[in-house]
Symmetry: C2
Subunit: 337 residues, 2 copies
DNA sequence: ACCCGGATTTACAGCGCTAGAAATTTGCTC
DNA sequence: GAGCAAATTTCTAGCGCTGTAAATCCGGGT
């Protein structure tokens, strides 16, 4: 059997509560006692029983991270970071997947209301602000593009990031810029791109806004195919609201004989690891995921400490990462043989 | 405050234990009682307190999944499946990352020994069989290529999968086949490929075995670059032990003017989502991850039930997924303008 | 009407840990 | 050496749920 507090206490010749005090770093423990107890813990290999501790404390030690899918690398990477950040606050992360379904997101929210968890980090895709009306006092923080007034939020400034992306394209001499994304998901990014174009005396004509119903390569490829079929004059750059979309777009462009970046520059968003294995490597916007994770955990702690503190919306930084896909001149794969 | 068993009992007019019995599906409960209790639970929105339950049961309800990194899509996807499979056994999954470091893998193993968890699913990269010597009775199941005699294992037959891959390349008329992978990680796949070549009267000359020290695109690209610099005669096909490697290999090939698959076919392994966004789409081997996850959980349950049951090594199926990168003739991106 | 065995339900003792209050010891002061 | 406050340690209840064993109920047989 695993050793219990009582075993440690017996071995150290003190009371059970003293051991508990040592473990919990109470003040007022004499040096000698602390040493005796620490030694006993060491010798016995004692580890606290978390179920018992949690029961006594009325805390579960678990927070939930709700993301659409774990096999989307953006979210996988976010999960990685959140797990690390949460450990620092003695929380374990339980990952729940919503598949981007509104029903699943609502269910998570409902669960949080009656729940056995200490907090929730949610990356919602389909939730409406009104869904939050009857949320419980459970610490909750939202990630992602949309901000809901009544809840803490951590995220980058997507419009500003889109601005950097578009400016980067403009700086490399591009003028006719298409945008792949929205309407549902990536509104801020599209909005940011459009307003930046406008600020430079350019425009985002309707035919250059290619809407998608998802953010995978297939969606990007289909959107670009549709555009190519439409017969509109080609853009000289495409800004995609995710890297995955961008890969599909590049695929479609190249299948139709366009060179990237020579004929058309392509810009993504997210900075997923595959960007570097692609040909051309993908220029992108890299959100500071580590910071997002850290601040999300910080928000939960704040909410746990104060009952219902003021709502905070926090903006995290991002970086423009220029790579081959937007280079002024890029590698030209030459057919050989 | 959240309702407790006692509240439900009071409301239903029965004892606390009867409510517990209903919740735990004990036999011998009269229909009337069951209905009263169920109604009370419903009305109060009662949810059992897991900390308390786990404490009473001496079970934590948590299993650990140890993987190298969550942002490798193979493992992300595996984690996804495992979470789902574990839910069916009322377990939730705590993901731990080893970064492929032996020390981290050992640490996980050590933790399992003194631990607060019900079981562990481990996908080891650097562990030695001897490291398992003093493992505790904690249910443990290993995934991945290497089988350790004393522990349950679930995985595909990597050598057989490599055989299908190589046969596929042979069937599309390729004869000079290079292999990217190993020596550390993917031995079975390399071994399978080599023996298949041999079985067909071919060979894997040393210069066509390109070893790598990792499985990312960068590793693949560097390995292929090194080969190209070496001046050896070109292969007409490359089998890579992961898709990610394959992407890097394709990148290197195309940068040097080779067409894929026309000049060189490339075959991957894992079936990650990006395969479809690549140009060309990547032929690959798709392990049945869902089955792996399901069987891993089943193994843990079996071990939990019987004290130390017989060790089982289970083989799960895989599929060959032919795509553009190994087509007899593929799409030819034509430079335009 | 009474007894018996199986069907149902209840009482009660923990699971291992923490919190608050009480008890004890210690260090000083005079 | 007594007296007092602060420092340190122990006592005593639970946290909410489950398992065992004992109690109660019920219908049929006599």
């Amino acid at each position: 059997m695993r050793p219990r507090l009582a075993d440690v206490a017996a071995r150290a010749g003190v009371s059970i509560k003293t051991v508990s005090n040592v473990i919990n770093d109470f003040p007022h423990i004499s040096r000698g006692t602390r040493e005796k107890v620490t030694a006993a813990i060491e010798e016995l290999g004692y580890r606290p029983n978390l179920s018992a501790r949690n029961l006594a404390k009325g805390r579960t030690g678990v927070i939930v991270l709700g993301v659409p899918r774990l096999d989307m690398p953006y979210f996988a990477s976010l999960a990685m970071q959140l797990i690390t950040a949460a450990e620092a606050a003695s929380w374990w992360v339980q990952i729940r997947q919503t598949r981007g379904e509104r029903a699943a997101e609502l269910e998570l929210l409902a669960e949080s209301r009656q729940s056995r968890i200490d907090g929730m980090v949610l990356s919602p895709l389909r939730l409406h602000e009104s869904d939050l009306a009857e949320r419980s006092g459970l610490p909750l923080v939202m990630l992602g593009e949309r901000r809901f007034a009544p809840v803490d939020h951590v995220g980058i400034d997507n419009a500003a990031a889109a601005t950097s992306a578009v400016q980067h394209l403009l700086e490399t001499g591009r003028r006719r810029i298409a945008v792949v994304g929205g309407p549902m998901r990536s509104d801020q990014r599209v909005v940011g791109a459009r307003s930046t174009l406008r600020a430079h005396g350019l425009d985002l004509p309707a035919e250059l806004h290619l809407p998608v119903r998802g953010v995978t390569g297939r969606h990007g490829e289909e959107a670009m195919e549709a555009f190519l079929r439409s017969g509109h004059p080609m853009p000289d750059a495409v800004f995609c609201v995710t890297d995955w979309l961008a890969m599909g777009v590049i695929r479609a462009l190249r299948l139709h004989g366009f060179r990237v970046p020579d004929d058309v520059a392509v810009m993504g968003f997210d900075d997923i690891p595959y960007d570097l294995a692609a040909l051309p490597t993908l220029s992108t916007i890299a959100p500071d995921r580590e910071e997002i994770a850290r601040l999300a955990v910080a928000s939960l702690r704040r909410q746990e400490a104060a009952g219902t503190p003021e709502v905070q919306h926090t903006v995290v930084g991002h970086r423009l990462v220029p790579r081959e896909s937007t280079a002024a001149t890029g590698p030209v794969p030459t057919a050989r043989g």
